[in-house]
Structures are given as C-alpha cells and as structure tokens.
C-alpha cells in the first residue's frame, strides 16, 4: 500500500469502527447483548490511525475501549461481531467478548479488562522482538486513567532501560471513568511522564487522523531502530458514556457537544477531499460500504452457533 492507499484504508477502517460501535450501542441499549462494553466513538482517529502507521507484522496490546484499535490493526469484522455476540465463530469462541478481542497470530495480543493490564505484556512482547531480532515493534494502548497504575511505571521504566521497541500510546480522553484528568493527576500533559524514564514523549491531536498517523510513523522508526521506547499522548474524547451504564453526571453536555464538533471522521473526510485523495462519491461509498459490512457481520454473527456447553472446560491449559 502506498501512502494514499493507506489513507483510504484508514478512512474505511475508521468508518467501520464507527459503524461497528453504533451497532453495538444499539444492541446494548436494547439489552440484546450480555455484559458491558466500552465504546470509542469519537476516538477513531486515535485508535485506527496509530495502528495504520505500523507495519502489518507489528504487534499491539489493546484496551477495554479497544474496538477502534483492533479494527485499525486490521480484523475480520465477522469474527469480531461474532465474539461480541458470544458466538462460537468469534475470535475467542465466545469466551472473551468485547473486553478480550484478541488475534495473536495477527499481532493483536488482546484487549484487556484490567486497566493497565497490557503494559507488562507489551513490554514482554517487545523483549521477544529484541531477543529474536525480528524487527517488529509493539504499540501499547492505554488510557489517561491507566497512566496512574503502578504497572505503567514499572513497564515504561523497564522498557526504557532495556531499550525495548515499544510505543506507549496513551489515548487521553480526559477521563478515567468519571474522574477528570485534572483531578486524577497534577500535570496537564501526560507526556511529561516520559521524562521520568528518560524517553522521548510527544503530544498529538488524537482527533486528527493524519497527525496521529505521522507521529506514530515517526515514533515507529525511532523505536524500530533500537533506541528504546517512546511515549505518545493522543488527546481525544469519548462521546458516549464510560460503559453502558453511565449517566454522564461528571461532565457537561456542552463539553460533549464541543468535542462532537471535532469529529475525527468528518475532519479526515474533509482532508481526503481537500487533498483530492477521495471524491465526495468515493467517500460516501466507503461510508456506505462500512455500514453494509457491519450489517453483514451482524448477519454472520446471528447465523453463527452458540459455543457448545462442552467447550466450557476446554482451553484452560495448553
């Protein structure tokens, strides 16, 4: 893929992510899905463009709010939707659900239900790449809230002293559940923390797909060259509640409205049109196609079998 094709693909995946989550949100609102989910609507540029800046063989660790991330990494939407509906054909045979979408072979080392749970895994995965000299790098997603977990501290420090090829990619959406950044840490920019480990840190506008893409590309080069990890803070915003049950009491409607104006999809579309990478018709077609593909994924998932009860006891040990 050349750069232009990448941009088009990126737009496609961002639309898939949006459509996927709108569908999931619809399901949850109607109690059609079990459990809970964390939607990344409004954060698609951050999740998708960062992954698109990696090579296909690179690895990621994803989070509880991981739909955009894993779609960005390239995923089979059918298997993903099937997993969300708990079907046997899902990525995890229905055992994982929204919080555990993983595709180890494709380099997605898994979403994580534990805030900060992916930090150590990412570092270990990066160590493998270093020891095996694969040339691959790892991108570790985490949130602003996760940056207060001890696991963040230990992992970044270790990656730094061992010069491991990992990008710590913070999706700062300004809230850890109900707690605003301004209350959960005493610094304005999380990137400040990079200095505590002697590694470079960058801030990027997380709603600007192109900016995210470029910054991660640049970081990937640095990291791949063996210089050690990098921290990127991608400032963005989640439009919807933290999880399915969230009355949004901790923030104002105005704030949400303001951020909706910064829609990463609209912004990227405008860019693609302006740069004449896409025509209006082509952009529309991509959006339509994304919606269709999600519908197909739903159909696929709906037509998929439930996992047999006997599978309950399988897969505990290798």
């Amino acid at each position: 893929m050349d750069e232009k094709e990448k941009m088009v693909e990126m737009y496609k995946r961002m639309n898939e992510a949006r459509s996927f989550e709108e569908k999931v949100s619809f399901f949850f609102a109607r109690g059609m899905v079990h459990g809970t989910t964390h939607l990344s609507v409004g954060e698609e540029a951050s999740g998708v463009a960062s992954c698109m800046a990696l090579e296909a063989y690179d690895l990621i660790t994803s989070t509880h709010r991981g739909h955009s991330q894993v779609i960005g990494k390239g995923i089979d939407l059918n298997k993903m939707m099937a997993e969300l509906l708990g079907k046997a054909t899902g990525y995890c045979k229905g055992k994982g659900g929204s919080m555990h979408i993983a595709d180890i072979k494709a380099g997605n080392l898994g979403a994580n239900g534990v805030v900060g749970g992916g930090h150590g895994i990412a570092v270990g995965a990066a160590l493998t790449q270093k020891l095996k000299k694969t040339g691959k790098i790892v991108l570790c997603f985490f949130g602003d809230g996760a940056a207060n977990e001890g696991s963040f501290h230990e992992a970044v420090n270790l990656a730094s002293i061992w010069r491991l090829p990992v990008i710590f990619f913070c999706e700062n959406n300004f809230y850890g559940m109900s707690m605003p950044l301004s209350k959960h840490m005493n610094i304005k920019d999380i990137v400040k923390r990079a200095e505590a480990y002697g590694i470079p840190g960058y801030i990027v506008d997380g709603n600007d797909a192109v900016a995210v893409y470029r910054k991660v590309k640049e970081a990937a080069e640095y990291v791949r060259s063996g210089k050690g990890p990098v921290l990127i803070e991608s400032k963005t915003y989640r439009w919807l509640g933290h999880s399915k049950s969230d009355a949004n009491v901790y923030r104002t409607k105005e704030e949400i409205v303001e951020w909706k104006k910064k829609c990463p999809l609209k912004r990227f579309r405008a860019y693609l049109l302006k740069e004449e990478i896409l025509t209006e018709e082509e952009a529309d077609a991509i959006e339509r196609k994304a919606k269709e593909d999600i519908e197909k994924a739903v159909e696929y998932a709906n037509n998929s079998p439930e996992p047999p009860i006997g599978t309950l006891l399988e897969d505990v040990y290798a």
Partner: protein, 326 residues
Amino acid sequence: MREITYAEAIREAMSEEMRRDENVFLMGEDVGLYGGAFGVTVGMFEEFGEERVRDTPISEAVIAGAAAGAAVTGMRPVAEIMFMDFTTIAMDSLVNQAAKMRYMFGGKAKVPMVLRCPAGSGTGAAAQHSQSLEAWFCHVPGLKVVAPSTPADAKGLLKSAIRDDNPVIFVEQKLLYRKKGIVPEEEFIIPLGKADIKRKGTDVTIITYGRMAESVLSAAADMEQEGISIEVIDPRTLVPLDRETIIESVIKTGRAVVVHEAVKTGGYGGEIVSAISESEAFDYLDAPVLRIAGKDVPIPYNPELEKAAVPSVAEIKEAVRKVMNR
C-alpha cells in the same frame, strides 16, 4: 417490615457509621459523584462531601495501602476496589502490610479498615471481572473475611466490620445488589464470626455463603417436596469461621454439602470440609462431605457458558441426593 436492596443496605450501613463516627470515610474509584460502579454509594458524596467520600485515581495498590496507613494512624477507612479481580493489584498492601502490621509490631498497632469488593460472575463481564477470590484472603492470618448473602446481613455485618479493629475484606455480591430483602429500620449490628441458620432441617446440612445461598435455599425448598429436609447454614463470616454452628448441625444431620461460587480447586470449601472432618462430627458422618463449587475455569463471556461455570440448583440437588443415598 420494610424491604430494601442489598446495595441500599450497604449504603445505609456506611452512612450510619459515617454519621456516628467522624473517623469513618470512603475511598475508591468513582465512589463520589458517580456513586460507584454499581451505584452503591449514590448520594453519599452529596451528604458527606468530597473530603469523606474520596474519589481515587485508578491505583488499587495505593487505595489499599493508603487505607492501611490511614487506619493505623486513627481513621476507619472503608476502601472500595471496584471489582474483586483487581484486589490482585492491592495484594501487597492487604497481605504484607495491613494484615501483618499488628503482629509484626508485637501487637502495638491496629488497622481498622474495611476493603469492600464486589465479587462473582453472572454479569457477562468475563474472566477478569467475575472472580470470587475470598479463599485467598481466608489464608492470610490477620485478615477477617465477610461475605453476606442478604441485605440484612450485609448491613449488620458491614457495620460490625467498620467498627472492628482489624482489616476486614468485605466481599459483596454483584448479582445481589438489586435484590431486596427485609431490613429492620432500627439500628442493628450482626457480630462477625456468627453463622446464621437460614433454614432449619434434619437430613442434610448445606453450608453456603454469598450468592449461592439463594440457589441452595431454592434447592432446599424443592427438596422438601421430595421429603428431604435440608438445614442451610450461612457462616456469613468466613474468617473467623463459626465452626460450632456448622459442627452442631452436621452432628444432627450426619450429612453435609458445601456450596460456593468460587472455583472448586483450592476454594474455601476445602477448609469447611476439613473443619467438619477434623471435628467430632466426623463420627456422625453417614456420607462424605461433598463440595459443589464453580468449575475450574476462568469465567467465560457467553451467557450460557457463564451460567454453566457456576453451581446450579440442579447440581446442588444432585449432591444432596448423592449424600442421601449412602
């Protein structure tokens, strides 16, 4: 008699204790304005203010560690870990610090803190949000462990836990939060370490706690029809365990089954089985004490699999029949 939910009962217990004793305060993730992930603390921020209902960052190790530090210096913190699964991050604070300070320091410290943690599966939240890890804490001298199965027990025991001078792990049941039960309006406390006989019976003793009490009671009601009379004992406090009540019952019935949601291997059921077997009740046993517990698997996402991971009423009945047919 009025009925309130398990969550409301917990909230009442905390609110009453906070009104009674200014040293009591809450801390945890999203316990403030948000009202807690399960709505347990709704309204408390408004009543007690942000100094006494403290939202923390997502930092479980220091939530528990700071609770220990506040407790040893004179406060009575009630700390919440949003899901029991995340006590994994707080284990050093709980096990090496809170539980051991008193002993290590020759009895010259006390650590009156409560750690609340919602446990159990059934919410579709999968392997990292569904565990029942009480057995770990029961294996740590210095900790007390409480696991109430009804709103009234939750209220009375939490009040005791808050007044207790030791670190108490208070295991709440996610699936019970919205269940209602009769809770007296007037103030009451339930002492730690006292089992409750939830149903009287003569043929088989079932020892159970937490969410499983409901299934056991329903199995017991069903089996009454079959002419089998089941005594249901809920220890409520796992440490200290009210051995006497259990043993007395087993001496009477000669048969016992232990039921819990936590995975079977290494679960607290083994302790209860052993306690019975080591006691004078051994000589009265007409059948082995059976354990009905969670399957030895992480909790899966799919709702049917998830259900199958946890003891069903049918399994409980089957176990009762097994011990009856000896």
